[in-house]
C-alpha cells in the first residue's frame, strides 16, 4: 500500500500527459521494433502481469501504468525497464536486450489504447 503514492504519481503523469500527437512523434523517434515479437516478449517476461495484456494498466505494489499507446518516449520507456524509479523490477540486458525493448515498445504502441467512453452504452450513467 505504501508505494501507491509514488507509482500513482508516475501513472498520473503518464495519463495526464497523454497527448496523441506528441505520442506519435515520440514513437517515430523509437528504433524500429517488431510488434509481433514484442507481444510474445511482453507475455513471456511477465510484463502483462502488472500492465495487462491489452496494456490497460493494473497494479503491483501500487498502480501499474497504462502502456497502450504510452506517452513515454522510447528512451524513458527503456530507462524505466533498466532502472525503474519505483517498485517495478529492473530487467537487465541479460533478460531483455535493447532490441527486445524496442519490440515491446512497438507492441505497446500498436495497442488500440482508450476509446471514447461515450461510445460504450454501459459506461454512460
Amino acid at each position: 500500500m505504501n508505494a501507491i503514492k509514488r507509482i500513482a504519481r508516475i501513472a498520473c503523469a503518464a495519463a495526464v500527459a497523454g497527448i496523441a500527437t506528441w505520442t506519435v512523434a515520440q514513437a517515430q523517434d523509437a528504433p524500429p521494433g517488431n510488434a509481433g515479437i514484442g507481444k510474445r516478449l511482453f507475455v513471456a517476461n511477465g510484463c502483462f502481469t502488472c500492465h495487462g495484456r491489452s496494456g490497460q494498466g493494473g497494479a503491483y505494489n501500487g498502480p501499474a501504468p497504462i502502456l497502450a499507446k504510452t506517452a513515454l518516449p522510447f528512451d524513458g520507456f527503456k530507462a524505466q525497464i533498466r532502472n525503474p524509479v519505483n517498485d517495478m523490477p529492473a530487467f537487465p540486458a541479460a533478460l531483455l536486450s535493447d532490441k527486445d525493448i524496442a519490440d515491446i515498445y512497438a507492441f505497446v504502441q500498436s495497442l488500440p489504447g482508450p476509446r471514447s467512453a461515450k461510445d460504450i452504452a454501459i459506461l454512460n450513467y
Binding site: 500500500m1 501507491i4 509514488r6 498520473c12 495484456r53 497494479a59 529492473a90 471514447s116 450513467y125
Partner: protein, 645 residues
C-alpha cells in the same frame, strides 16, 4: 455428525457386534471328536456365550445414576446468548459443545439460529462479514482444541480488522470426566492460549454464574472500540449437567459502552488547525462503524470543503462525492494539515516505501505539515503480531472514537469559519470537485482499454456488473486484491454498499465473509454481491454449501486470473532482480493444468453456477441469469476469466 469417538472396548453396541461375529464364526467350524464317526458339518446358528459386561447389563439391578434430567446448563447458556440479542451462531458441530447445541435447538427453539458451516474458518469469517454490516456480533462455536485451531486464521483477520466476534469453544476441564481416546486429545488446560495474542479477552468459566458474567463481559469488551474478537471456553460438564440451583442464577444486565468522544479542548484545537490550514486533507480507514458514520464524515468534509482520501476499511465516504479524492493520494504530500482518523496503517499511508534490494522509506508529508490523529485503535495493542505498524510522529493525537467525535469537531469547525474562510473554502471545494469529475471521466476512458479482449479486463467485468445491479438496493461486500474499478466507476452512497476488507490479509476471508454480510442483507431485502479471487475461493469453497443450505442469496463473481497473482508478480520481480529466467515463475503461483471450473464447483454445492466466461460478449447474459437466480433466493457464482488485474 458426532466427532466424539465411542470407546472401542466398553461400548455395548460394539460389544454385541463382536459377539455376533464370534457366533457366526463358531457356526461354520467343523465339530470333530476322537471317538465319533465323521459326520458332515451342519451349519447351526448359535448364540455366543455372553461376556461379563453383557451378563452384568442384563442381570444386575439398574444403576441408581439418573438417566433423565429436566434442566441443563446449556439451557441457561442459550438464555444468556439470547439476552444479548445474538441472532445467529455459525458452527461446525462438535461433541464438546453438544450440550449447548441441543439446548439452542430445543430449549431456545433454534435461537440464536444455527448456521451450519463445513469449516471453522468459514464460521468465524461469516461472523466478521456479518458484524460489519449489521453493527453487532454474532456467535461462533467450535471444538475448543481442534476446531479453534481451524478458526485461528479467521480470528486473526477479525482482530486486525477490529471486528467483534464471539467465539465459543467446547472443552472438558475435569480430567476424570473425559472418555478414553478422543476426548483427551480434544481437551486442554488453557485452550484460549492459542488465540490470546489476537483476541481482546478470553475466559474459561467454571460455573454457570461465571459463564453468564463472562459472556456478557466478553460481549461488552468485543463491542467497545477498538472492537475485536473474544473467546469463551465452554466446559462440557457445565453445559450438559442439570442446573444444581436454578434460583441462584441470573443473567447479568448488559449496557453497551458509549464510545468515547475526543477531549473537547483537543477537538477545539484540531478544528482551529483545520480551519486555518491552506490545504487540509482528511484521510480515513475505519471511521464508519454505524450508518451515521458516513454522514458525519461528509458533514465535516463539506464544512471544510477539503479533500477526503478513503482507505476503504469501512464505507466511510461516498465514492462520487465531489470531495472524494481517494485516487489522488499526492494530495497528502501537498497538505499543510492532515487529519487522519481510525487509521489501520498510519505510517504506511503517509510514507513512500521502496520494495527494492535496499528497502528505503521517506516521509510523504511535506516539511512543516501538521498531523492530527483521531481514533481508538492504539488504545488496545498486543506485542507479538506486528499489526500496529511503524511509529509515526504526530502533532495532535486525540484518543476518541472518530464517528462519535465527528459531530463535535464539525460544529467546532463551523463556529470558527467566518466569511473569509468560507469564501476560501468554497473556492477550494470547487477545484476539488472539478478534479474529482475529471477523475471519474478519466476512469471511464481508461476502462475502455482492452474492452473486447479475452481474457476479460477487470474494468469490463466491473462495468458489466454495475450495469445490471445499479438500480437495485445493492451491497458490495467483498473484493479482490487491488481491484479498484468499482470505487472508480460506481456510485457508492449508502452505508451498506461497502464492507471493507479482511484486515489481516489472510486468504480465505472473502467468500465466507461475503456470505455473512449477505445473511444480514437478506433480512434487510438488499441485493448482495461480491467479487472474489480464485485463490481465495479455493480456501473455503464449502461456504457455498452453507449459502445453498440456508438459502442466502448472493451474487459471487470469481475474478479468475488462474493464479495467486500477487505472488506471481513477486516471483517475476525476484527473477528479474537476479537476471534469471522469468518464464518459470508460474510454478507454484498459478492455478491451471487443469483449470478449475468454479461454476461446476458451485453447482456441486447446490448454488447456481455460470461460466467460465472467457468472451466479454457472454458476460452480460450470464450475469442476467445469475441475478435472476439470486433474486429467487439462491446463491449464484459467475466464473469470469480475467486478465490479471
Amino acid at each position: 455428525m458426532d466427532k466424539r469417538r465411542q470407546p472401542s472396548a466398553s461400548s455395548r453396541r460394539n460389544f454385541l457386534k463382536g459377539a455376533g461375529l464370534v457366533g457366526a464364526a463358531a457356526a461354520v467350524v467343523p465339530q470333530v471328536t476322537a471317538n465319533a464317526a465323521p459326520v458332515a458339518p451342519q451349519p447351526q446358528l448359535k448364540a455366543a456365550v455372553p461376556g461379563p459386561l453383557q451378563t452384568a447389563a442384563e442381570t444386575l439391578a439398574p444403576s441408581s445414576d439418573p438417566v433423565n434430567q429436566t434442566s441443563s446448563g446449556g439451557d441457561f447458556m442459550a438464555d444468556v446468548l439470547n439476552s444479548l440479542g445474538i441472532e445467529y451462531m455459525a458452527i461446525n458441530c462438535a461433541s464438546s459443545y453438544r450440550g449447548l447445541h441441543e439446548a439452542v435447538l430445543n430449549h431456545a427453539n433454534n435461537k440464536p439460529e444455527i448456521i451450519t458451516c463445513v469449516h471453522e474458518d468459514i464460521a468465524v469469517h461469516m461472523a466478521q462479514g456479518y458484524a460489519k454490516i449489521e453493527g453487532k456480533p454474532m456467535a461462533m462455536a467450535c471444538h475448543g482444541v481442534v476446531g479453534l485451531q481451524h478458526a485461528t486464521m479467521a480470528m486473526y483477520n477479525a482482530w486486525c480488522d477490529r471486528v467483534p466476534v464471539l467465539v465459543f469453544g467446547g472443552n472438558i476441564m475435569e480430567a476424570d470426566k473425559r472418555m478414553p481416546g478422543t476426548e483427551w486429545v480434544h481437551s486442554g488446560v488453557d485452550i484460549g492460549q492459542i488465540v490470546r495474542e489476537f483476541t481482546k479477552w478470553d475466559d474459561q468459566p467454571v460455573s454457570l454464574t461465571h459463564f453468564a458474567e463472562s459472556t456478557v463481559r466478553a460481549y461488552k469488551i468485543a463491542t467497545t472500540p477498538p472492537m475485536g474478537p473474544v473467546f469463551i471456553a465452554l466446559d462440557a460438564e457445565l453445559q450438559e449437567n442439570p442446573i444444581p440451583d436454578p434460583e441462584a442464577l441470573r443473567i447479568p444486565k448488559f449496557a453497551p459502552v458509549i464510545p468515547p468522544q475526543g477531549d473537547s479542548a483537543a477537538i477545539a484545537e484540531a478544528a482551529k488547525m483545520l480551519v486555518e490550514a491552506q490545504n487540509p486533507i482528511i484521510i480515513c480507514d475505519r471511521v464508519a462503524r454505524t450508518p451515521a458514520g458516513m454522514a458525519n464524515l461528509v458533514a465535516l468534509a463539506e464544512a471544510l470543503q477539503c479533500g477526503v482520501i478513503d482507505n476503504g476499511g469501512r464505507m466511510n465516504f461516498p465514492s462520487r462525492h465531489p470531495l472524494n479524492q481517494s485516487f489522488r493520494r499526492a494530495l497528502i504530500g501537498q497538505a499543510d494539515v492532515i487529519l487522519a482518523m481510525e487509521m489501520n496503517d498510519l505510517w504506511g499511508a503517509l510514507t513512500h516505501f521502496s520494495d527494492r534490494i535496499v528497502r528505503r522509506s521517506s516521509s510523504g508529508i511535506k516539511s512543516g505539515a501538521k498531523l492530527i490523529t483521531l481514533g481508538t485503535r492504539d488504545l488496545y495493542l498486543k506485542s507479538n503480531y506486528q499489526d500496529f505498524g511503524r511509529w509515526q510522529d504526530i502533532d495532535l493525537d486525540i484518543a476518541g472514537d472518530a464517528e462519535a467525535s465527528l459531530p463535535a469537531l464539525t460544529e467546532a469547525v463551523k463556529r470558527l469559519t467566518d466569511d473569509g474562510h468560507k469564501a476560501a473554502f468554497d473556492a477550494r471545494g470547487k477545484k476539488l470537485a472539478a478534479t474529482h469529475l475529471a477523475m471519474v471521466e478519466r476512469s471511464k476512458t481508461d476502462a475502455t482499454i482492452g474492452w473486447d479482449s479475452s481474457p476479460i479486463t477487470t474494468a469490463r467485468m466491473c462495468a458489466e456488473v454495475y450495469a445490471q445491479i445499479k438500480d437495485e438496493d445493492w451491497s458490495m461486500v467483498g473484493t479482490t486484491i487491488k481491484l479498484s474499478w468499482p470505487q472508480r466507476l460506481w456510485d457508492f452512497n449508502k452505508p451498506h454498499q461497502w464492507n471493507g476488507v479482511s484486515g489481516g490479509s489472510g486468504i480465505g476471508y472473502n467468500l465466507p465473509a461475503s456470505l455473512g454480510a449477505a445473511l444480514t442483507n437478506k433480512k434487510h431485502g438488499r441485493f448482495t454481491l461480491s467479487f472474489g479471487g480464485d485463490g481465495d475461493f479455493m480456501f473455503n469453497p464449502g461456504a457455498l454449501w452453507t449459502a445453498a443450505h440456508h438459502q442466502i442469496p448472493i451474487l459471487y463473481i470469481v475474478q479468475n486470473n488462474r493464479a495467486y497473482h500477487q505472488e506471481y508478480m513477486y516471483l517475476v520481480a525476484m527473477a528479474a532482480r537476479h537476471g534469471r529466467d522469468v518464464s518459470k515463475m508460474d510454478i507454484g503461483t498459478t492455478l491451471k493444468d487443469p483449470n478449475i471450473d468454479y461454476a461446476t464447483v458451485a453447482r456441486g454445492m447446490g448454488a447456481h453456477g455460470e461460466g467460465p466466461i472467457t468472451d466479454p460478449k457472454d458476460l452480460a447474459p450470464a450475469l442476467s441469469r445469475a441475478i435472476a437466480a439470486v433474486k429467487s433466493g439462491q446463491p449464484a457464482v459467475v466464473d469470469v476469466v480475467t486478465d490479471p488485474r
